[in-house]
Subunit: 350 residues, 2 copies
């Protein structure tokens, strides 16, 4: 890959890393917002499968292109340094977009994605690794908060406290997948599902007792539904709480509300959660130590995007250091995520 | 430096990383306990400035040597691979031991220390860097929890949420330095000082309001004192609460207790604390996101030692990868801290 000491762009008078965004939904827009806060990065272009004229971005200095125009921004296929995209952040979905897009674009760019289908990560990693090694690019997959910062926290915590137990709780937050599943029920106009960690389970974990917790004991689910006029609310409730894989293993509460209440009280996309590890130390494992990492997010997609952008910076640095191939946040030295120098970090943050 | 694919030792039938411990106080003993839990490391030897015959370690398979015997375990000065120490963990104090020891031993071994005088880190780093680069060793300084995991959390959090504010709180926990300062007061037989975060300050920070907090608003101090019979308790209390640099900027509570109560209720060395960052996202910074990292430790030295041992593993891997010179936890890819393979980590933890 064409290597440059710094990115090709300029922000004020400084050299900057030029970021491309593939896909402009909640995540793509979040990346755009995060770039506004970064001193060392600039938005080069946004790519969409929609008609570019219908996509209105917030950044005045950047343009929207058709997804199939992205190749001419690749430093590998000969884009001029001032046009080239240093890192392409792929903001598609994990079900069908990313398995196809990430290997494809990793052969043209350094890339970052947020692939979050945990069970399929090894397979995705292998495909992306082959493509990126072939092109001498760096491709960081599964960045975000889970997978992402939660994974990193699980790793640090287990490496430090190998004898113990780890727990991940999600929420309180909106699950898009569960909300969509409820919306598909006959008679439902709109729905919002919140995943809520059970306080008693959190307390048991924090006590260091290393409890065995069932799915039902860890989380409850709360659903807000706008039903069609005259719809059978009992039948809808029954369909929700018994829905296989989504609700049947949880205690679920269903509330019927008006469209106005939905718009007023449930328009945000908050989320968060906890990673807690309790581990025993001492010759006879007599001491208990608890590590707890907690996220409380007003905006799930914006926080995820903010992680993606920091990871894009690290991906660029890994590429500059010849660290090609597929990577995850496990492979990133934390210093690479920051715009600060190593000297500055040691002085101000260590 | 002599490079080997794996450490020279054996634990069961596996090749292991051979660890040396320099200094056998609370920290050295904690490292020894942590090695017992590590599948891939073994204790090679303990070094002490005391008479080795007076130092009784817990590990039956290792021996205690005089500190000045350490050189013959150096792979650089020609120790046989089965005798060589792969990583020497230096468990001395930051005031006088580590500034001298870490550069000295970094010219003979891969080393890890827990240097925690924040203001002098740049200077210490420079000395260690020169020594380790000259010998092609890897030397990780300032490992532990603060500096250490708290620093890493501050870095990740700022890199992800650059617009916001970060706060570190310590406690509830025992401060050895403050306890020692009280013990030097005339009429004091024994003392234990606890640093306690102020709950209202924690709540203000968690709200995302980015409060400005004075020293007094963040922590209180609580002191337990065993006084000599007939000592003037009012004078002792006055000397404590007005002590410059230690107590004068804090609200301090002093309790007089018996020697029996001290032994019964205050023999542990618990500690912990919080790193909290609140950061704003969105085009107009309209959303607030809170990252909170919390440690609750039964044993401060054992937890620190557990970090040191994970960092020793990473230091060994960095050395195997030719990453010589001074390092901090900012430079360590998280995967290097774990005994698991990258494939295993991606499958089980991402």
């Amino acid at each position: 890959m064409v290597s440059r000491q710094n990115g090709g762009g300029r922000k004020g008078t400084k050299m900057t890393i030029r970021i491309g965004i593939m896909g402009y939904g909640n995540l793509g827009r979040g990346v755009e917002c995060a770039i506004k806060q970064a001193p060392d990065m600039e938005l080069a272009a946004v790519f969409t499968r929609r008609n570019p004229e219908d996509v209105h971005i917030l950044t005045e200095t950047a343009k929207v292109y058709r997804a199939d125009e992205v190749e001419r921004f690749s430093p590998i296929t000969g884009a001029a340094p001032e046009d080239a995209i240093d890192v392409l952040i792929i903001c598609g979905g994990s079900a069908t977009d990313l398995p196809e897009q990430t290997p494809k674009y990793a052969s043209l760019f350094n890339v970052v994605d947020s692939f979050d289908t945990h069970a399929r990560i090894p397979e995705h990693y292998a495909h992306v690794d082959a493509a990126s090694k072939g092109a001498s690019t760096t491709a960081t997959i599964s960045a975000g908060w889970d997978p992402g910062m939660f994974s990193v926290t699980r790793l640090y915590s287990e490496a430090i406290l190998p004898v113990g137990a780890a727990y991940t709780f999600w929420g309180k937050g909106v699950s898009q997948g569960h909300s969509d599943a409820v919306r598909r029920i006959d008679g439902v106009l709109d729905a919002r599902q919140y995943t809520i960690p059970v306080e008693a389970a959190l307390e048991a974990v924090r006590s260091g007792s290393e409890p065995e917790l069932s799915t039902r004991e860890k989380h409850t689910r709360e659903v807000f539904v706008v039903a069609e006029e005259g719809a059978d609310k009992e039948r809808i409730t029954e369909e929700i709480v018994t829905m296989k894989n989504y609700f049947d293993e949880y205690d679920t509460t269903v509330h019927f509300i008006s469209a106005e209440e939905m718009a007023r009280d449930h328009s945000g996309i908050p989320h968060g959660g906890f990673v807690i590890r309790s581990g025993r130390t001492g010759w006879d494992e007599e001491d208990t130590n608890i590590i707890e990492y907690k996220l409380t997010l007003d905006s799930n997609p914006e926080f995820t995007s903010s992680v993606l952008l920091a990871v894009a910076r690290a991906t660029w640095k890994m590429a500059q250091n010849g660290m090609y191939g597929a990577k995850t946040m496990f492979d990133i030295p934390p210093a690479f995520l920051s715009p600060r120098s190593g000297e500055d970090l040691r002085k101000s943050m260590l």
